[in-house]
Structure formats: structure tokens, C-alpha cells
């Protein structure tokens, strides 16, 4: 379908955003209507993951650099938010090392979550100034090392994080609909960023770093901007996650979380927002099914259950198969314009052989 009027063209421009929002709304509404408490908890968790994956897309999709470090920002956001919302009495017991202001006061969860995101963004900005000077693969390893150092810092910093035990007493405020609205905000943020001149410049550097530099793109600067924005959303997702679980452990934010969110992005298609959303929805269903199967299901007379951690193995195998047979993901790295015709023909960019 080709739009006729100027208004039609405007609608088509933002169509991927609209159709993704509607699709997500339908998924949430249908699952919520089942009225099952456990299912709706899985839904909340999936939606929080979606915020993380959209955050990952903002950086990875536009820069072409793989970051293994974003779960570190999620952790920073989660703890920063919890520091603000927990009851002062509880804080005195578990994390007495906090500054006096935080020990004495608490903020509303929404304000706390935004501040938590901002703190994660500041951490990303400072570390990004160093990391983003590195090129391709070295940058990925840099982010991995950054992640491990955040992880070991929080694991040992017990007067602020309760260290190796868990931080309990976080108010549970994240409902499916709260998480849904954060998804919408993150989607709008990601969409606006990728359409902005910053996003365009960064994507130019993704396609050809040398040519982008020659055209006057400050590649390091653009990467830092994108790294910071994406950490903001991932940090807020961390805040939501803490207020979904009601408790935090540093171990929550380790390699499995990194792996799950990264695979969701890759399976959907790293370079499009639609890919981030589709990948998260599809893999969330797959994970839930495999987890069910781990608990056991009955086939006629016999009941079968898969061994523990087969969900993880299954996820890894799916990711490998996608990488081998459909490296651009389900969406082939394109945005969803259906039923419109996409404005630009989608071409698959092949890797330049050196």
C-alpha cells in the first residue's frame, strides 16, 4: 500500500512505532485477560526484559558494536532505585553505608526509577569516554571487562549493596501495565534517537567507519551519546526489575541475564527496533515453554520433564541456529511497515571482507 496524502506519509514515517505499540498492547491485554497470577508475573518480567533489549538496541543496533556490559548498567540502576525507595528503617539494617540523606528519606518509585536511570547513564557516560575510543572487537571486550568490574565491585561493596546476601524490603510496585508503559516510552525514545541526526551519524559509522569519519562524523562522540542513552533505559529497567522482585542480589545481574537479553536482540534482528521487540516476544514465549517443560508435563499416561537448565541450553542452540541460518534475525534487520510499502528498499549489508 502506498500512502496518498501528506498525512498518510507522516503516518507511514512513524508506522513501525505504531504497529509495534499496538502489537505489544494486544499481547499484554490478551495475557492479562487470562487472569492467571503466575502468567502475569512472567509477563511483567518479559516486559522489563523488553525495556532492556530496546536499550541494547539503541547502542548495539545503531553503532554495530556488541556490548556485553549493559547488564552492569541495569544493576547500577536497580540498586540506585532501591536506595531511594526502600523504607528508611530497613535501609538502616541492611545498607547502613548509604549517605545520610538517602538513609533518612525515600522517593516515589517513579522519580526514583528515573533518577536510577540517570545514574546508570552517568556511569555509562564516564566509562564510555574510555571504552568508545576502542575499535570494534576491543570495545566489546572492554564492555565485558567493565561489566565484570561493576559486578565484582557491587559484590564486595556490602555497606551499600548488602554484598553477597540479598537486599530485601524493596516495595513491589511494578505491575504489567507499569512495565508496558515503560516499554512504550523506551520504544519512542529508541525510535526518535535512531531518526535523529545523532542516530543517523552513528549508523553511518556502523556501515563504514572510515567513510563516516571522512564525512565529518565524530565516531567516538556519537558512540558515547548512544551508550549513555541506552544505559539510561537499561538502568530504568533495572529499577523496575528490583521493584518487581521485591529483592535484589548482585548475582541476578550476571552472565545469564546478559545472554538472554543479547540473544533476544540478535534473534529478532540487531539493527531494527522491530527486531528488538519481535525477538523479545518470541524468545520470552520459548523460555516460558521450556521452563514449563523443565517442571514437567504429561503426555497421555506418562509425564515427561526436561532436565534443569535445558531452557538455557535450548536458548543457546536457538541463538546459534539463527546466527548460522538467518544472521539478520527474524525481521532481517528491517522495520515493520506492513501494510505500507517500506520507503527504502531493504538491502542486506554484507560484511566487508578484509
Amino acid at each position: 500500500m502506498e500512502p496518498k496524502s501528506p498525512l498518510g506519509h507522516m503516518v507511514r514515517d512513524v508506522w513501525p512505532l505504531i504497529i509495534l505499540s499496538i502489537g505489544l498492547l494486544l499481547v499484554v491485554a490478551v495475557i492479562q485477560s487470562l487472569g492467571d497470577r503466575i502468567v502475569s508475573q512472567s509477563l511483567t518480567e518479559g516486559l522489563i526484559r523488553l525495556v532492556v533489549v530496546i536499550g541494547l538496541y539503541i547502542f548495539i543496533g545503531n553503532s554495530g558494536l556488541i556490548s556485553f556490559g549493559h547488564i552492569g548498567f541495569m544493576m547500577i540502576g536497580a540498586y540506585a532505585t532501591a536506595w531511594q525507595t526502600m523504607d528508611p528503617m530497613t535501609k538502616d539494617i541492611f545498607i547502613p553505608g548509604l549517605p545520610a540523606y538517602l538513609l533518612a528519606n525515600s522517593h516515589h518509585w517513579l522519580i526514583a526509577t528515573i533518577i536510577g536511570g540517570l545514574i546508570a547513564a552517568i556511569a555509562a557516560f564516564i566509562s564510555g569516554l574510555a571504552m568508545m575510543r576502542l575499535s570494534g572487537i576491543a570495545a566489546s571486550i572492554g564492555t565485558f571487562a567493565l561489566f565484570m568490574s561493576f559486578y565484582s565491585l557491587y559484590l564486595q561493596w556490602s555497606t551499600w549493596t548488602a554484598g553477597q546476601s540479598s537486599l530485601v524490603g524493596i516495595p513491589v510496585t511494578t505491575t504489567p501495565w507499569v512495565a508496558f508503559w515503560f516499554c512504550i516510552v523506551a520504544m519512542i525514545g529508541a525510535f526518535v534517537y535512531s531518526r535523529s541526526k545523532f542516530g543517523l551519524a552513528l549508523r553511518a559509522s556502523r556501515e563504514d567507519e572510515v567513510a563516516a569519519k571522512a564525512a565529518g562524523v565524530n565516531v567516538t562522540g556519537e558512540r558515547v551519546i548512544s551508550f549513555t542513552i541506552s544505559a539510561f533505559f537499561v538502568g530504568m529497567a533495572g529499577g523496575l526489575y528490583g521493584h518487581f522482585l521485591g529483592l535484589l542480589t548482585v548475582d541476578t545481574f550476571y552472565l545469564p541475564m546478559t545472554f538472554i537479553t543479547l540473544s533476544m536482540l540478535v534473534v529478532g534482528g540487531m539493527q531494527s527496533l522491530s527486531g528488538a521487540v519481535v525477538g523479545t516476544i518470541v524468545l520470552s514465549f520459548v523460555i516460558e515453554l521450556l521452563r514449563k517443560a523443565e517442571k514437567g508435563f504429561s503426555l497421555g499416561e506418562t509425564s515427561i520433564s526436561l532436565p534443569a537448565s535445558s531452557a538455557e541450553v535450548g536458548l543457546g542452540v536457538i541463538l546459534l541456529l539463527i546466527l548460522i541460518f538467518r544472521p539478520a534475525g527474524f525481521t532481517r534487520n528491517a522495520e515493520i511497515y506492513w501494510p505500507f510499502k517500506p520507503k527504502v528498499a531493504v538491502t542486506e549489508v554484507t560484511h566487508r571482507q578484509s
Binding site: 556488541i66 568490574s149 541463538l319 560484511h351
Partner: protein, 305 residues
């Protein structure tokens, strides 16, 4: 003086482990442009192969009970076979993919290996004491006692490095491999068989991983499905600060990271010691800011236009 020697030995033995792991990673990066996130899990598998596969909390030795002369080749064979399977099932189908895709592929592979280990052996760490008499001290000079194992680690590393250098410079296949690392396409045009070179590199990388797993498990006496990951992290840092694609750089980086860790461990005040890794990392960032291309510049690390 005695104290300084003790610190030096600690630094050298830790640096040796990092250097060996970094060599295994650097070798594959040179030939395949692959950052092998599964290398740490190869190391872990080498260590787990010592015991009977079961989820029991008490580890029963299997290969670990053999005579050392049989044990070591067995572990090497296990890890090399695993590495070759990885090459056939994952790395080869992804041969023409971008380095980023390859990297995610190896990350996925590592994740799968870790979870299969949990499935088979259970997720809890297990104690495994093999050759524990090696941790007894030897007197180097009056007043200086170091564990025998430290000397063995340093010795094994030196021997392996010398063998590797001889292989790379004196044998036909070694020269092929260096040519492939320098310019893969050119090497193929000049008649070097790609698959053979890559398989050889994968196998050698697996051997190095097996060596690390043996040395490491004897030193710590503990099996944990995440044991390889932390080693691999430091090896990664070593390859990056040493200079991607340079084997000399990997070794230099490995010893540098080991030395910095031990120095911090020794000289940090005790309440700061738990934050050692954070300091190591801060120093790494500093090195990267000063020399983003790494300490040793290699031709392969430059992006060609």
C-alpha cells in the same frame, strides 16, 4: 629481598596462567578473527573431565586417578576434541560472518557448554584434590619458600611458549599459520589450505586450554562451572592491552595483568583488597586511554580499508 622474590614468583605464576590462556585466545583471533568467548569453558571442561560425570556433591575421580603420563594426554584429547567439535558445528558455518556475529556465536557456545555442565555435574562447586603434594613448599634460597606448583606453572608455561615459537617459526605448518594470521586471503591464494590451518589453530588453542585447566585445578582444588570465565576475562584483558592479534602482545599482556594483580594484592591495605579486580580494571582503562592499540602493535590488528 626474600619478600621481593616471593612476590615475583607469585606474579610470574599468575601471569603464566593468564599468558597461556591469552595465547589460546590470541591464536584463534589471529587466524579466524574470532574472539573465543568459549575458551574459558574449554578450560572448565578440561578440569571437569577429571571426575566421574554425576550430580553428586562428592566428586569421584575418573581420569584424575590415572597416572600423570596417561592423565595429561587424556585431558588434552578431551579438550581438543571439544574444540574441534566447536569448530565444525559453530565456527565453520560462521566462517564468513562478521567478527561481531562470530563473537556472539562463541558466547552462545560458551553458555551452552556451561549449562550442559550444570545439567551433568550439578551447579555446586566441588572439591577435587589431585596432586595436592605439589602445593608443598620448596626452599629457593634461605628464607624463601615457594610452592612447588608455582615453579611447575612457570616451567610449563616457558616450555609451552618455546615449543609454540619453534612450531610457528621452524615448521611448515607453523609458517602457514603465521601467514594466515597476517593476511588470510593472500595466504589462501598462495596455496595454503584454509581448513587445515584453522583446524590446527583450533587444536593448539585447545591444547593450551587443557594445560591451563590442569595447572589451575591443581592450584585451586575446586571445580566450578564458572571457573574458566574469570580466567578468560583476565586473558581477554591481556590480549586487548597487549594488542589484538599479536601473540607476543598476548604474553606480555598476560604477565602484565598477573603482575598488577599480585602487586595490588600485596600492597593494598587489607580492607581494600576485596576491590582488587576493580583496581586492575581501572589500570587497564588507563593503559587503553594511553595506548588504544595495545602495548604491542600488530599488523593484523589494524582495520584494513
Amino acid at each position: 629481598m626474600a619478600f621481593a622474590l616471593q612476590v615475583l614468583m607469585n606474579a610470574l605464576s599468575l601471569g603464566s596462567l593468564y599468558a597461556l590462556a591469552a595465547l589460546g585466545i590470541g591464536l584463534l583471533f589471529g587466524v579466524l578473527k574470532l574472539i573465543n568467548f568459549a575458551h574459558g569453558d574449554f578450560i572448565t571442561v578440561g578440569a571437569y573431565a577429571l571426575i566421574v560425570p554425576s550430580a553428586a556433591t562428592q566428586a569421584t575421580l575418573l581420569i584424575g586417578d590415572f597416572h600423570p603420563l596417561i592423565l595429561i594426554p587424556c585431558i588434552v584429547v578431551v579438550v581438543v576434541i571439544l574444540a574441534l567439535i566447536a569448530e565444525f558445528l559453530v565456527f565453520r558455518p560462521l566462517r564468513n560472518a562478521s567478527p561481531a556475529t562470530l563473537m556472539i556465536g562463541s558466547f552462545a557456545l560458551g553458555f551452552v557448554i556451561q549449562n550442559i555442565l550444570i545439567m551433568v555435574y550439578g551447579g555446586r562447586p566441588k572439591a577435587v584434590g589431585i596432586w595436592s603434594d605439589l602445593s608443598l613448599g620448596v626452599e629457593l634460597m634461605p628464607g624463601v619458600e615457594v610452592p612447588k606448583l608455582q615453579l611447575i606453572i612457570i616451567g610449563v608455561t616457558l616450555v609451552l611458549m618455546v615449543v609454540l615459537v619453534l612450531f610457528l617459526t621452524k615448521t611448515k605448518y607453523g609458517v602457514h599459520m603465521r601467514a594466515a594470521a597476517e593476511d588470510f586471503r593472500m595466504a589462501r591464494m598462495l596455496g595454503i589450505e584454509a581448513n587445515r590451518v584453522i583446524m590446527l589453530a583450533v587444536a593448539i588453542s585447545g591444547m593450551l586450554a587443557a594445560a591451563v585447566s590442569m595447572l589451575f585445578v591443581v592450584q585451586t582444588g575446586i571445580l566450578d562451572f564458572r571457573m574458566g570465565v574469570s580466567l578468560m576475562l583476565f586473558a581477554f584483558i591481556a590480549t586487548v592491552i597487549g594488542g589484538m592479534g599479536s601473540l607476543v602482545g598476548a604474553v606480555v599482556g598476560g604477565f602484565a595483568v598477573g603482575a598488577v594483580s599480585i602487586l595490588l594484592q600485596t600492597f593494598l591495605p587489607s580492607e581494600m583488597r576485596v576491590f582488587r579486580d576493580v583496581f586492575v580494571f581501572a589500570i587497564v582503562i588507563f593503559i587503553l586511554l594511553v595506548r588504544p592499540q595495545g602495548l604491542v602493535m600488530s599488523r593484523a590488528s589494524r582495520e584494513r580499508v
